[in-house]
Symmetry: D2
Subunit: 339 residues, 4 copies
């Protein structure tokens, strides 16, 4: 496929380009960045030295004619106007939040007024494990957020099988999620050694989490920890009646037994018996594990991903593969590194 | 005071000795370690070079005659027999878990059979904020656990003021809590980059947490994160009725307004508006913050400490100061480093 | 090719297996580990979950009949006896130091007495950039050490072109180089935050460095720094006469212009203008840069690699590709991650 | 003493204020910062919560009348005009580079044109180990740079005792040395995992290093590594004739045997047998070690400090103590933390 990328200087775009460089069916024809026009890609993404000679360009409408698909790697609100401009002319995979929320009022509540609410119904929420068939035919895919991906994948089988769940999610996330912008709080000396909540309630991703899981009143508390990549979502779940371990294994295996990028971790003994960001980063895998806490009448669901891959660029390529009839795992089936 | 230390080679003991070296009223006369007998302290604690010429010795009963107080820095179960041997002959501050739990059956359930349950009632749980007066007259102080310290300090004002709280604690902790022993899972290459639960339910500290807070069915999930020092406990609390922010400020200020080592953080805006392990490590301070989550009908209480100082050696010195009629802050009133 | 791996539980082997799992022309038929016989590979290398169902076996001579090539991932001295047993029956790529040094007396001086010195002359030093043609026909490849790889690649063009070089190498290396064994000094709490020399002179890799570069009296000082992967070798070089920047660019481009895994970094301005371990780890690339210091009459050559990939498993696969007539880059041409 | 601080929002100032808060003979009466006028100190230095109620002010000349001494914590070039304004009216400890270099031409070469070169001769280079007596009577102390401190302390005994030394210094330094400003290259995601040279030759500190050591043509190459605090300078020294280990021990002990903040590390075996930033950070100590490399006819001198303490704020307080007739160690004699 012939691919163009809008907003190609950020971390998400860097990861996307890295993955596309090694995708056997893709050719990138242009990448845009207002700030870096004329500069080679590798001046911003030094790991790509030798993999591409592309330079950043400015964007103009006619560029979409050269492409089968365009990826938008822009901040929320910036993306919607590009979609308005492109929609109908080219397939779009939007990595921003702009088309994830079906209800424009909820979008406005968490983000801002939407400039093209009529297009919301055209967009498919790009999580293959939930919407594989719709993605295949989508003209516009709204690629999920990273925290949302970990929470939705972790909780989806449970909400399908248990009623009346009360859920509180405690998220630990790395610094790459804050993007490439420099500010005091993201400076190395300030950010190293941190374990603190940066969003103690009402994180924006709640909108898509509740939409996709059909839950309400979910609590979410996000913590910055000292790492660059990765998300671990610890979902504290209070069901009306505790399932057994056997129930849980069946629920998750039935749901994810054939999923190429979800690994249910059910080892009995340490080490490596519960999901860990270390085991999934640098890969497109999501690891899910679960524990029953009889003492507190509680389930704990752990879900770990790489925020830039399964939580963003890798999932976008799953969507690309589905949209163009390729094996969904094309270009993505590589293990992480562990060390 | 003249001080002896049993089990002086571990991290907790290292921190204790460091603090005692700069305590104006203390002289350490002996330190023991079976493994390092004859070696200088600084061969195990290199930061103490130039601060002490002591060498490790073996322990014998008569050594307690030289002391006003003995600190026990031993693993749980190892400590109780030393206490049995010493009790009555010298004041004791026990940093293990052996005398924290009043009910020997609960001790047995979380640890092991107790060899001297009759002494349990003699011990005072050494958390000054809760038991200051009893500590002053104690012969045996059971110094609290690190996770327990953060959770109890965080929740104590709330349980005094609100009824019927359901509490789930999500803990993030550094590698020094695992002690000085080498194993695969604590190796640098394996432990770096980790965010994983190592104790998804029923952590042993639950016993003292429920005892001191008067709560039942508390959920607790502990996570290893990539740092050496520090604990952040995020307490997700579900009250029958949400208090207001003003209520909370009053509750915490009333309880901790005069506490020398508890800082209630109530800044409105970032940065530094919520407790962070980075702000308290290398100090004896506990920082507590709180947030109301209307959406999920939930309170979130954050409590951050240095696990080796306020969570262990520093709190032990607060207890020492109280037991000997000194200003409680002697030798402890230094800021952390932030960077 | 059909591949067997001896000593498959360590970090080097883990990385090798990861790379072989995604190599299009390789099938691994057995892996051995005395300690983990019967256990699945993924119980030791958790990132490989889902990529292989192999279990560790014990080794016996007849197993080599099933293979085109065997990789030995053993400590030095343990490897030589396996080579003695296998040589002639199967192609061997030995990742230990046992066959890197041509002179058995020098081997003995840095390591120990050699048990089969007659085989030393059969071995080819497996650095494609220096010995590509010999590797193609080798029966036994001695895969280079990680520090050696960075130093030799950094200095090779210079020694080819300048006379009478005096060289002192200052190495910074991560903890994975210490292997999987647990000891106090490799524990997370002890190893974090370290910047110290662990081998201030006469590192064993000096033997192969001086052999391959044809230099004598090279100084080398190795430092542990707080990272898991990566080596940066800073070569302080004192030539009789300083070359110009133009000379240097030509020297390095002529030597490495066609090398698939060596990138000469010659950007004028920051960022990313000098080699950085961050830019090469998780890839098979070596980045080399150079600076002229007129003030001190000195050249500084920087050479950065991933110690487990270009410094070990990745280079081993380059050798594999060469030995079996494949494109040398097969299975290796992926960028690093930068973040 | 009554103290004022100009430029109090940076990391160096933060560390200085932390140390002054626990100094028994000091009262801080004002701190200035143009950017944060009116804000409490703790809004910028959160570790100081509870230790000071001061707020940032603007500066005016008459404020010096309230002080015995003023600390200047400003960038180079900004400091000199304040000194011009204050000199004669109050004792000054200048933490910038502006008065370190005696020769204004060399200052201009490394920094910029000097606006008051006549004051250069009034300044004393504030390294107590070299200039203790002059500091006692100084009106203006030029506090040394951090890299300079480590290199000069490491090399001083050697240049006093050996002739014709050729010296190349390989420096590893943490991110706090870059100060509080936010830029892409100091962002957490970009700076984590880095091992790269940011100043491969001619670092500005060379000017003071050569001045104080009486050396010429010193080579210096500085590397950023992934830590916040600390400097390790590895000095590769080529003497005409190698001394013995006994010679070296005597040279260093004679020079530093009575120094309160220099520890010569001469342990035979690991661990902790060579200087390590981990052992000295969070303290005012400098650790020095040395190794003879017969193979390369080379000495290696290691010198480790905390860049913000012995390399800046702590050394400034040593100078303060000397200038006011206090015990030089007042407020500084605390061990580091190791973990």
């Amino acid at each position: 496929m012939i691919v163009g990328i809008v907003g190609a200087s950020g971390y998400t775009a860097g990861e996307l380009i890295r993955l596309l460089c090694i995708h056997p069916e893709v050719e990138i024809v242009w990448v845009t960045s207002r700030r870096f026009v004329g500069k080679p890609l590798s001046s911003v993404h030094p790991n790509l030295r030798g993999f591409t000679d592309l330079r950043f360009r400015g964007y103009s409408h006619e560029m979409i004619k050269d492409c089968d698909v365009v990826f938008l790697c822009l901040p929320h609100h910036a993306s919607m106007d590009f979609v308005k401009d492109m929609f109908g002319g080219v397939k779009i995979i939007d990595l921003s939040a702009d088309f994830r929320i079906k209800n424009p009022e909820i979008y406005a509540q968490y983000y801002s007024e939407h400039s093209c609410p009529d297009l919301l119904s055209k967009a498919v929420y790009g999580m293959p494990e939930l919407h594989r068939e719709e993605i295949k035919n989508a003209e516009l895919v709204a690629n999920p957020g990273c925290i949302s991906t970990s929470v939705i994948l972790g909780m989806h089988p449970l909400v399908q099988n248990l009623d009346s769940l009360r859920v509180t999610v405690d998220v630990k996330i790395g610094s790459s999620a804050a993007g490439r912008g420099a500010s005091l709080s993201t400076t190395h000396a300030e950010r190293c050694g941190v374990v603190r909540s940066y969003q103690p309630a009402n994180h924006r991703h709640l909108a898509e989490i509740e939409q996709e899981l059909g839950l309400q009143n979910v609590g979410i508390t996000c913590h910055a920890v000292d790492m660059v990549r990765g998300v671990l979502s610890t979902c504290h779940v209070f069901p009306e009646k505790l399932p057994t371990m056997k129930d849980l294994r069946e629920i998750y295996r039935k749901c994810y037994g054939n999923e190429p990028f979800v690994r249910v971790v059910v080892r009995k003994n340490p080490p490596y018996n519960l999901p860990d960001v270390k085991t999934v980063i640098y890969s497109n895998f999501c690891e899910i594990g679960f524990v029953i806490d009889d003492h507190a009448n509680r389930l704990v669901i752990f879900s770990a991903i790489d925020n830039l891959i399964k939580g963003s660029a890798g999932q976008a390529i799953q969507n690309l593969n589905l949209m163009f009839g390729l094996d969904e795992t094309t270009g993505l089936k590589t293990p992480g590194f562990y060390l």
